[in-house]
C-alpha cells in the first residue's frame, strides 16, 4: 500500500514526461526523466564476455570490487600472456544494476588485446561517456575502472608470489 502511494506521487511527473508516448514506449526509460543510451541497453541485454576463469590459473588476474551503497558486486578477470604482458582474454560477472553490467561488459571489451600498463589508464569517465551514463550512475563506471585495476594488481601479485616461490625452490635445490 505504501509503495503504491509513492508511485502515485510520482505518476503525474512520469506521465508528463512520457506524454508524447515515445518515452513511455522505450523499455529502458528510467524515472521518466530520460531513456538509457542504446549502448547500455545493448550491453545489458547482450552482455559480452560473461563468465569465469579459474582463479588458481597463474595467467589469470581477478578483480573483485563492490559498491556497498547499492549492494553491487563485480568480478572482472583477465588472462595475460606472460611473455608479452598482453591481455589475451577477459571476462566478467556482475550482480548489480544495468549500468554496472554494461560498464563491466564494456570494460572486458576494451581490455582485450591491450597491454596491462595500457588498461590501467582506462578512466571511468571514458566508460561513462561511451555509455552516456547519467550522473547518478557514474559510480557504476567507477566500479568497472576499479575492477580493471584490481585484476591487474591481482595478476601481478600472483606472479610476484610465484616468482618468489620459484626462487625459494631453486634455493632449496
Amino acid at each position: 500500500m505504501l509503495r503504491a502511494g509513492g508511485r502515485r506521487l510520482l505518476a503525474p511527473v512520469l506521465r508528463r514526461v512520457g506524454g508524447g508516448g515515445a518515452a513511455a514506449a522505450a523499455p529502458a526509460a528510467v524515472g521518466g526523466a530520460r531513456a538509457y543510451h542504446e549502448r547500455v541497453v545493448d550491453h545489458y541485454e547482450n552482455p559480452r564476455n560473461v563468465g569465469s576463469f579459474k582463479d588458481d590459473d597463474p595467467s589469470v588476474g581477478t578483480g573483485l570490487v563492490g559498491a556497498p551503497a547499492c549492494g553491487d558486486v563485480m568480478k572482472l578477470q583477465i588472462r595475460v600472456d606472460e611473455s608479452t604482458g598482453k591481455i589475451t582474454d577477459a571476462c566478467f560477472k556482475t550482480f548489480g544494476c544495468g549500468s554496472a553490467i554494461a560498464s563491466s561488459s564494456v570494460a572486458t571489451e576494451w581490455v582485450k588485446g591491450k597491454q596491462m600498463e595500457e588498461v590501467l589508464t582506462i578512466k571511468n569517465t571514458e566508460i561513462a561517456k561511451h555509455l552516456s551514463l547519467p550522473p547518478v550512475k557514474l559510480h557504476c563506471s567507477m566500479l568497472a575502472e576499479d575492477a580493471i585495476k584490481a585484476a591487474v594488481k591481482n595478476y601481478e601479485a600472483k606472479k610476484a608470489k610465484l616468482g618468489q616461490n620459484g626462487e625459494e625452490k631453486a634455493a632449496e635445490a
Binding site: G5, A11, P12
Partner: protein
C-alpha cells in the same frame, strides 16, 4: 536501472488507482490536481524529507519545547504537534522533528514499539490531504507535507536497514555512496550467494537460501546495534553495508520465487 522501468508501467494505472484511493481517506495519495501543482508538491515533499533527515538544529528543538509541538497557527493552542490537539488544524512541518519523535519513540535501533503501522495510520487519519480538501490552501499544503513526511518516517523506521542508515544520518555520519570496496572476504561471500540464487532452480533451494540470508541479516543487524550503542560508527557503517548486500540478495530470491 532497468528494474525501475516498472515505475513507468505503474504510471499508466495510476489514474485508475487514484480514483479508487479517493474513496479511502487512509491511502497516502494526492488528490487529483493539475500536474504543475503536483510538481510543486513533489518539490516540497523533497524539501520536507531532506530537512527532516538533517540532524535537528538545537535552536529549533528548543523552540519546539520539551513536550513537543508549538503554538497552533490556527487557534493558538499550545502543544500542537503535526496537527493541533484542540482544533485539529494540520501544522507546518517542523524540521527539528525527527522520524522517531513522530512515532513517540526514542532514537534507538531496536524499536520498543511494534505498532508502528497503527500509529502511522492514526497520523494519516489526522493529516491526510483528503481530510482538508475544503480548508485553506495553506492548510492543504501543510497536510500534503506532513502526510508525506509521515509516510517517509514510517517507511524509514519500519525497515531495519533504512532505520540504521537514518540513525547514522542523525548522528551526522556521512556515507559516501560512490565509494567502492575491495574487501575480498565480503565480496567473495556476496558473489557466492548471488551465484547460488542465480543457479537455484526450485523454490525449496531458494527458500533454503532465504533462511540462510535471514540468519546473516539478523547477525549483522545485531552487530549494528552493538556498534551503534558503543558509538563505534565505523563498525556500524560496515554492518549496514553487509545488511545492504544481504537485502539485495534477498530481493533477488523474492523475484525468483
Amino acid at each position: 536501472m532497468l528494474r525501475r522501468a516498472g515505475h513507468l508501467a505503474a504510471a499508466g494505472t495510476a489514474g485508475a488507482s487514484r480514483r479508487f484511493a479517493r474513496r479511502n481517506p487512509l491511502l497516502p495519495t494526492v488528490p487529483a490536481v493539475p500536474s504543475s501543482i503536483c510538481r510543486d508538491l513533489g518539490a516540497s515533499i523533497a524539501r520536507a524529507s531532506s530537512s527532516a533527515g538533517a540532524p535537528p538544529s538545537r535552536s529549533l528543538s528548543d523552540r519546539a519545547g520539551v513536550g513537543g509541538g508549538g503554538e497552533c497557527w490556527s487557534c493558538g493552542a499550545r502543544g500542537a504537534f503535526l496537527s493541533c490537539g484542540s482544533c485539529g488544524s494540520v501544522q507546518p512541518v517542523d524540521p527539528a522533528v525527527d522520524f522517531f519523535r513522530i512515532f513517540g519513540l526514542e532514537r534507538e535501533y531496536n524499536l520498543k514499539d511494534n505498532n508502528l503501522e497503527g500509529k502511522y495510520k492514526d497520523w494519516q487519519k489526522k493529516l491526510h490531504p483528503d481530510l482538508v480538501h475544503s480548508k485553506s490552501e495553506k492548510e492543504r499544503a501543510f497536510a500534503a507535507e506532513q502526510s508525506a513526511l509521515v509516510i517517509d518516517a514510517y517507511r524509514t523506521l519500519s525497515k531495519p536497514l533504512s532505520r540504521a542508515l537514518y540513525l547514522l544520518q542523525l548522528e551526522g555520519i556521512h556515507i559516501d555512496e560512490e565509494k567502492t570496496i575491495t574487501d575480498p572476504e565480503l565480496l567473495m561471500e556476496m558473489m557466492e550467494i548471488r551465484e547460488a540464487v542465480n543457479d537455484a532452480s526450485d523454490p525449496q533451494t531458494l527458500k533454503k537460501i532465504q533462511s540462510q540470508i535471514k540468519k546473516k541479516l539478523e547477525t549483522w543487524s545485531h552487530s549494528f546495534q552493538e556498534a551503534f550503542e558503543k558509538r563505534d560508527f565505523d563498525r556500524a557503517v560496515k554492518a549496514t553495508q553487509r545488511m545492504r548486500y544481504y537485502e539485495r540478495a534477498m530481493e533477488e530470491t523474492v523475484k525468483k520465487l
